[in-house]
Symmetry: C2
Subunit: 343 residues, 2 copies
């Protein structure tokens, strides 16, 4: 039987397998340190489309097609798509997915959407409701700047705490059968609001949500940080990552050595002018599906806990003086289908 273990963690009786991944990223992301791991790198970020929104839809659609093709599957082999993005009304995913003849669930978890998708997708497959689910998210620097900040043409100066939205998409196909890596546990998060109002410091707003979900995961499972080769967050960036590690340390969890943040990994922070690092739901998605899961498939690392974080505000709530509520969903991914044994 699948079961809840502890307060809010699910342990799968038959952990679903991540059978295939795909990732497509923009030019700048392709110039970063993870360049060689992405499946395709755009030469320029409009990708021949007439609007940034259409470009983002093309990226997410192409990433899904690529994952299906790499897995030697067709649309009819996929039971569910779970997808989302950052654009108003999630049009990135909605317009991308209209050409697939596959039942579709639209999600909005801001930059946490990739692990929201993996969490729900693995429950649908682990619950016996189908054979395969396609989990995918995207973000695009130009659609995000236009919508959340300033028109690109304005050339606004960025604060040192601000982050750079990743242009890219990552896709994972989850299956009820197949070789690992496997999703063994998921810990869906609660909304956490510590009163941060600075929309140019998202890392600080989101770090407490990551800490809450990670600590809950350790409580629920009896695991400890050293049970994982990597604890991956989505886009806390330089500042949020420091806050997370300190928050965890205060609660007795030392993650300084095993913590990685996709927002710090995808760019050369010193030389690519991205201030506090990458962000966007394409950040965790492309780093997880492009780099981390490939490292797992090749056996270089074996146990990863991934927790993408999302800031659940919009521009209007900030103008109205509201705080920034945040959330993080976590998934434990292992090359072993059986449980890690704790002493």
């Amino acid at each position: 039987m699948n079961c809840k273990t502890g307060k809010q963690t699910v342990r799968f009786e038959n952990p679903p397998s991540i059978i295939e991944t795909a990732s497509i990223v923009g030019k700048k992301e392709g110039e970063g340190p993870l360049s060689e791991y992405f499946d395709y790198i755009l030469e320029e970020d409009s990708w021949g489309e007439k609007s940034w929104e259409k470009s983002e839809s093309k990226i997410i659609k192409s990433t899904a097609e690529l994952a299906i093709r790499k897995a030697s599957l067709t649309d009819s082999d996929i039971d569910y798509i779970l997808a989302g993005d950052l654009i108003n009304q999630c049009i990135g995913a909605n317009y991308a997915m209209k050409d697939f003849s596959i039942p579709f669930f639209g999600l909005y978890g801001a930059c946490s959407t990739m692990t929201e998708s993996l969490t729900l997708g693995s429950m649908l497959i682990g619950g016996g409701f189908g054979e395969r689910a396609l989990c995918i998210t995207s973000s695009h620097f130009c659609t995000a700047e236009k919508q959340f900040r300033f028109p690109l043409e304005y050339g606004g100066q960025r604060t040192p705490t601000s982050q750079w939205t990743v242009t890219g998409s990552g896709c994972a196909i989850i299956s009820s059968s197949g070789r690992g890596p496997y999703i063994t546990h998921v810990t869906p998060g609660k909304i956490i609001d510590m009163g941060i109002k600075d929309v140019n410091n998202m890392g600080a707003a989101m770090a407490p949500a990551a800490a809450d979900t990670l600590i809950t995961h350790f409580h629920d499972t009896g695991r400890k940080p050293s049970d994982y080769d990597m604890i991956l967050t989505g886009d806390l960036g330089v500042i949020g990552s420091d806050i997370l590690c300190d928050l965890m340390n205060k609660q007795g969890y030392d993650i300084y050595s095993c913590h990685k943040d996709a927002g710090k990994m995808i760019y050369d922070i010193q030389n690519q002018d991205v201030h506090a690092g990458g962000s966007g739901c394409g950040c965790c998605a492309s780093v997880l599906c492009g780099y981390v899961l490939k490292q797992m498939k090749s056996g270089k690392i074996n146990n990863v806990l991934v927790a993408a974080t999302g800031a659940l505000m919009n521009t209007m709530t900030i103008q109205q003086g509201s705080t920034i509520p945040s959330i993080a969903h976590a998934a434990a991914i292992s090359n072993e289908q059986k449980e890690i044994v704790n002493n």
Copy 2:
């Protein structure tokens, strides 16, 4: 075992129960024909808040609190919240749910979100991943007009095909145990795009998605329209409902007599100046949770197939000349936990 039956329908081995519902609606909705069925009717639609967005959040939060209280439960009895709304970045639900200490999944399915929530929620509970899920959506006339159409102060004239966004929220608590009604089947929908571009005629854009999901449901289950006392759509309105019934009839499914649309039920169409009827994800939610499920609990009707439809565009895609992709998710709800036997 839970199983897929046919192409895209799930049949639950142990159908989850809808143990409690709650609904709160605005002043205009409270003046309509379903007035007596809603739990609470606002005296004025700001509900004492300083912005329409904060008012919508208060409505959704209060509806969730009411459902939990009516069920004699507390936050810790609920395993998951699945919620969404129409405002950019789903801030209606996000800010409403930050004060609940419950794992949260944000959904975006436009006006289909209530049945997206019921579909995913029943799979989480039916899959054994928890005891109870809270499914909720909202919409607000004033947040929707401001965001999707014109500032209220502009006083723009509406076309005859346009619909009136419902101010309201509906909530259903799904449980692994308890008396009926039960969710016996769910049929998640695919995105359908028939090329409609008129954003003032959403019913026409969404009707083909409803037809696709309903016909798939009948194919997959071997059921026929007469197996249901009511086939309820969310907000097709007057025009979309006629299109749906005609589309179904052409495919051999006569639903003229058993089809009801929440957008036609919630207002007195002739006298409340709502043109083609109600819309918004609070429309299906409040009519389903306020009226239909109460009719089922009292035994006046026993079998309902509900399919809310959503138009997955935003204002920018319309400005960019794109079509309106749509989706519908369906849930079969019955007072009997066992299967309807077909001849």
